[in-house]
């Protein structure tokens, strides 16, 4: 995507859950939040990390790829939509396919729900609810140029490594400047995965 998109900067997150509350207020899935907020190193730090749908580009949306009912639409502008309610059978294939753990299943309704980048807002030029309210800018919506103009020297990555596989996403993550030339491993900014230095 990398037009106007979401940028995630865990270094700024204060774990306030404004994004979670805002997501609940969003009209496209009102009352339910589609954001994961993780406290990554509990007990030794107050660090926290929000995850929204990463809108995978390459391979194109694993969740949509595995959906047997063709319920997950990817729009021309790269937004991976939540399941079409008239098609979704609630099988949870998407949940298992997603490398970032994003889609949720409402077991009663047999329906998948996920972040669809507030398509009802972004289609009209507004930022998604979570990035609009995030008090710290840990979730930021705009172009990479806008981000860099506001935060001099900021570097982003949109490629993640899971073992042998790489996933390129429409949503990018702010990474330490010295690490920008390498993919971000496993969705979290660590250097090693299973004892292997993924920078090599």
């Amino acid at each position: 995507m990398m037009g106007r998109t979401m940028f995630i900067d865990p270094g700024r997150c204060i774990g306030c859950q404004a994004c979670v509350s805002a997501c609940r207020e969003c009209d496209s899935h009102r009352g339910k939040s589609m954001i994961h907020l993780d406290y990554t190193d509990e007990g030794s730090s107050v660090a926290s990390l929000p995850t929204v749908c990463m809108h995978c580009e390459d391979p194109v949306a694993p969740c949509a790829e595995v959906c047997p009912a063709d319920a997950i639409l990817v729009t021309a502008d790269g937004v991976v939509q939540q399941a079409d309610t008239t098609r979704c059978i609630g099988c949870a294939n998407c949940v298992n396919a997603c490398p970032f753990g994003v889609p949720k299943i409402d077991l009663q309704a047999k329906l998948q729900m996920k972040c669809n980048l507030c398509y009802d807002r972004t289609a009209y030029g507004l930022a998604p609810m979570c990035a609009t309210v995030c008090p710290t800018g840990a979730l930021y919506y705009g172009t990479v140029e806008e981000l860099q103009a506001e935060r001099p020297g900021v570097q982003v990555a949109d490629t993640f490594v899971f073992g042998e596989s790489e996933v390129r996403t429409g949503v990018a993550m702010v990474v330490p400047a010295e690490r920008v030339q390498w993919p971000v491993p496993g969705g979290l900014p660590v250097v090693e995965i299973n004892g292997k230095d993924v920078r090599r």
């Binding site: 700024r12 997150c13 204060i14 774990g15 306030c16 859950q17 404004a18 979670v20 509350s21 805002a22 609940r24 207020e25 009209d27 009352g31 339910k32 939040s33 954001i35 994961h36 907020l37 993780d38 406290y39 509990e42 007990g43 030794s44 730090s45 107050v46 660090a47 926290s48 949870a92 949940v95 298992n96 753990g101 949720k104 299943i105 409402d106 077991l107 009663q108 729900m113 009802d120 807002r121 289609a123 009209y124 030029g125 507004l126 930022a127 609810m129 609009t132 309210v133 995030c134 008090p135 710290t136 800018g137 919506y141 705009g142 806008e146 103009a149 506001e150 935060r151 001099p152 900021v154």
Partner: protein
């Protein structure tokens, strides 16, 4: 103020044809989300009413979404100068209070505390209240009746509280819950500058080279300000955080001074010592603009870094690092909050920070100055116009004859009729215990949760012969009252608040109050009328009160006379002093170097560190400190009813260091000289090993304030919430940890179930736990 960067490039998102909007969506707004014509309805018939958050002193702008039936049903971010669309979880959920099933919609009453509260007519409630006021004042004198106000009220109402107490009830006993908030900073600012407000607007944070946050948990208490802090950091500013806990902002600080609670003045004295030793003072500035410098200099010589290291329990090098970073920065700013203010030397702590700013010349410039972050929405405005025991409108002193005369003229009473100064909130409770105060009206406050030493507070209120409370929810304190008046919530009336920058902002009315509910203004005026003072309380609206307030403040330092509702709506807020309608207001103080003292100088003050009031001993070797969590506001009367916030943080916890051998979620008993309570442990390295932290938003049996001490700062009379001696023990069983006191009527959100789960152990306290994967 820099504009929202997402709109600052001149880009306008051209609104699409509304007919192209997908069915069921909300239509469009412009790039910033603000329709130019503000009161705007989209194609769904929804109206957006511009207003501000009712909670903290940031006063974020927001729209309330109002449906065709005139009911508030949601929130939409608003590109106001202060918050530029951002909101914290409290702000996002605030609208849910408005039509909450727990709203009080009829007066409640009982003639004695043995009876249950029952719904009565307004006539019966008012009649009983007025007869009790008359009875108590006839039997025991006028001062036997007291009034306690609140700093979440609009300024019009806080003005009216002061006038109501002194003119209608003719009592000297009036104070407010801002007494528990930033009065220490107010006292220090008056001493140093003779003006009680922050020196700089928030936007100056973006211009500074060094930001010192002292006892200010910005991430949880003023979350939207974090954007300014990060903005400063993006531009290379050094961030210094002084806090016993590693808060979310401290985590990213260049220097985090994790000092022992209650030792702040020793630390700041030592920092100034190093600044002097290293020749980093701004002598030219001091010579031109300060008095008392020689005395301060001589005093801080007693505080070398080694002494601070010993008192504060920190490495001496940190003192040097902070001194160099702050003094060498071309522009530096210091913000403090309750962390250094909630002490028996709260005023002195603030004075040591002011001394630092003064000695380095970091005052009165863009990006250089000082400020206090107010916890309550109208923490600043709530104390400006006469709600405080010793103050008259415009910050005039009730002890000053000239000031008394001026106000009596406006109020139309004889000077001899105006009562003397009263006592502070905690002192009033002690007087209630001693039956010196026998009747009380509380207006939108909840001392049963928010005052220290709960046992004393409960006894004080229980001893009181008559107690009436104004509120929109039945708070723990209202449940103790004889009469509860159901009053409007913020979205049902208009009025102004002054935020932590002293920027006056206007709140607008978004819906009509439920039938049976009246405005606080109406109730006070009606009681006054029945007491025979109706001619002085002939106010039909907030606007009429505001016009009198403007006149009453004219010519004072806290001058509102140039501020009108219309100007506030046009400008998005005006900082006082604003002496005329063509005056732009005063966002930054002292730009010409002069303060509001007669000599125009900053009066530096000598501060000696002294230990906290509650001494440590073998039984109580640790420090208990209290504070807030991001999901809740003050006594929790409002936020403990909102589903999302309750789920985010359903209960308090005791934060302890791993060295004590607790497991996460294990019951820990915290014992102070006031009592003991059991909490689930939150084990974290983010706190000093000698300190335990409990958030205070809950009532007994998990009330932090059942344990804290009711010792007061001798000048500001603020309680010492931030430090008391305690010990922690393993409690026997998890069932000793009482169930979280969820307020009735809390509406839970049905959370989507998730197949991919990795939940924390069920005992882990929420708030710092994994949020969305249960």
């Amino acid at each position: 103020m820099t504009a929202d960067p997402r709109a600052a490039d001149g880009r306008t998102i051209v609104p699409l044809d509304p007919s192209l909007a997908p069915p069921g969506t909300r239509g469009f707004r412009d790039a910033g989300g603000i329709p130019a014509d503000q009161w705007h309805a989209d194609q769904n018939g929804e109206t957006l009413v511009p207003t501000h958050c009712c909670f903290c002193g940031v006063q974020c702008g927001m729209y309330l979404r109002v449906d065709r039936g005139g009911k508030v049903f949601g929130v939409e971010p608003r590109n106001h100068d202060i918050n530029r669309m951002r909101l914290c979880p409290k702000g996002i959920n605030a609208y849910q209070q408005v039509n909450h099933p727990d709203r009080l919609t009829a007066p409640l009453m009982r003639r004695s505390r043995d009876e249950e509260l029952r719904e009565v007519s307004w006539e019966e409630a008012l009649e009983f209240t007025v007869s009790e006021i008359r009875r108590i004042q006839q039997e025991h004198g006028r001062d036997a009746f007291g009034v306690l106000g609140g700093a979440s009220l609009f300024s019009e109402k806080t003005y009216l509280v002061g006038k109501f107490a002194r003119v209608a009830l003719k009592t000297r006993h009036v104070d407010y819950n801002g007494r528990l908030c930033m009065v220490s900073a107010a006292g220090a600012n008056k001493l140093a500058f003779n003006i009680d407000r922050a020196g700089n607007p928030f936007s100056d944070i973006l211009l500074t080279d060094c930001l010192l946050l002292a006892g200010a948990n910005v991430g949880e208490c003023f979350p939207v300000l974090t954007q300014y802090v990060w903005g400063a950091r993006d531009r290379g500013a050094t961030l210094i955080v002084v806090d016993p806990r590693e808060t979310a902002v401290a985590r990213t600080a260049d220097i985090h001074v994790a000092l022992k609670s209650g030792t702040d003045s020793a630390f700041f004295n030592a920092v100034l010592n190093v600044i002097i030793e290293e020749g980093l003072t701004d002598e030219a500035y001091l010579a031109a603009h300060a008095t008392g410098w020689e005395e301060v200099k001589a005093n801080v010589a007693q505080y070398p870094p080694s002494r601070a290291a010993e008192i504060c329990g920190i490495p001496a090098e940190q003192v040097v690092q902070v001194a160099r970073a702050f003094a060498r920065a071309p522009k530096a700013m210091a913000f403090h909050a309750r962390g250094i203010e909630h002490h028996t030397q709260g005023v002195e702590n603030c004075l040591t920070v002011i001394n630092l700013c003064t000695a380095t010349g970091h005052i009165g410039k863009p990006g250089a100055g000082y400020g206090t972050l107010t916890g309550q929405g109208n923490g600043q405005g709530g104390r400006e116009h006469g709600q405080k025991a010793d103050l008259l409108p415009g910050g005039r002193s009730i002890l000053n004859e000239e000031h008394r005369r001026q106000i009596c003229e406006i109020w139309g009473i004889e000077e001899s009729e105006l009562p003397a100064a009263g006592t502070s909130m905690m002192e009033m409770v002690w007087q209630m215990q001693r039956q010196e105060i026998r009747g009380l009206i509380g207006i939108c406050n909840n001392p049963f949760v928010s005052l220290p030493n709960y046992a004393v507070v409960k006894e004080g209120y229980d001893t009181t012969e008559f107690h009436a409370q104004f509120d929109f929810f039945l708070s723990e304190t209202a449940a103790n009252a004889h009469v509860v008046f159901p009053v409007t919530i913020w979205a049902e009336d208009e009025g102004v608040m002054a935020n932590a920058e002293a920027r006056v902002v206007k709140h607008n009315k978004a819906q009509e109050p439920p039938s049976g509910v009246r405005t606080d203004t109406w109730v006070m005026c009606e009681i006054a009328r029945r007491l025979g003072e109706g001619d002085k309380f002939a106010f039909g609206s907030s606007r009429e009160v505001f016009d009198e307030l403007r006149r009453a403040s004219a010519g004072t330092i806290i001058d509102y006379s140039g501020i009108t509702y219309e100007r506030l709506e046009e400008t998005g807020g005006i900082s006082w002093p604003c002496p005329s309608t063509d005056h732009p207001g005063t966002p930054r103080l002292f730009e010409d170097g002069t303060t509001y003292h007669a000599d125009g100088k900053i009066h530096m003050q000598v501060v000696e560190w002294h230990p906290p009031a509650d001494p440590y001993d073998a039984e109580h070797p640790m420090t208990l400190t209290t504070g807030r969590t991001v999901a809740h506001f003050l006594s929790g009367n409002q936020t403990r009813r909102l589903g999302a916030l309750v789920e985010q943080t359903p209960r308090p916890w005791a934060e302890v260091h791993p060295s004590h051998g607790f497991h996460n979620g294990e019951p820990v008993r915290v014992v102070t000289r006031r009592g003991s309570e059991v909490f689930p442990a939150l084990v974290t390295e983010a706190i000093r090993p000698d300190t335990v932290f409990i958030p205070y938003h809950w009532p007994v049996p998990t009330a932090a304030n059942a344990l804290t001490i009711d010792a007061l700062d001798p000048r500001s009379k603020i309680p010492e919430y931030k430090v008391c001696a305690c010990r922690i023990e393993h409690a026997e069983a998890i069932d000793e940890v009482p169930a979280p006191p969820v307020a009735p009527g809390h509406v839970a959100y049905p959370e989507t179930q998730v197949s991919r789960t990795d939940p924390l152990p069920p005992t882990a306290p929420q708030g710092r736990g994994t949020s969305e994967r249960s």
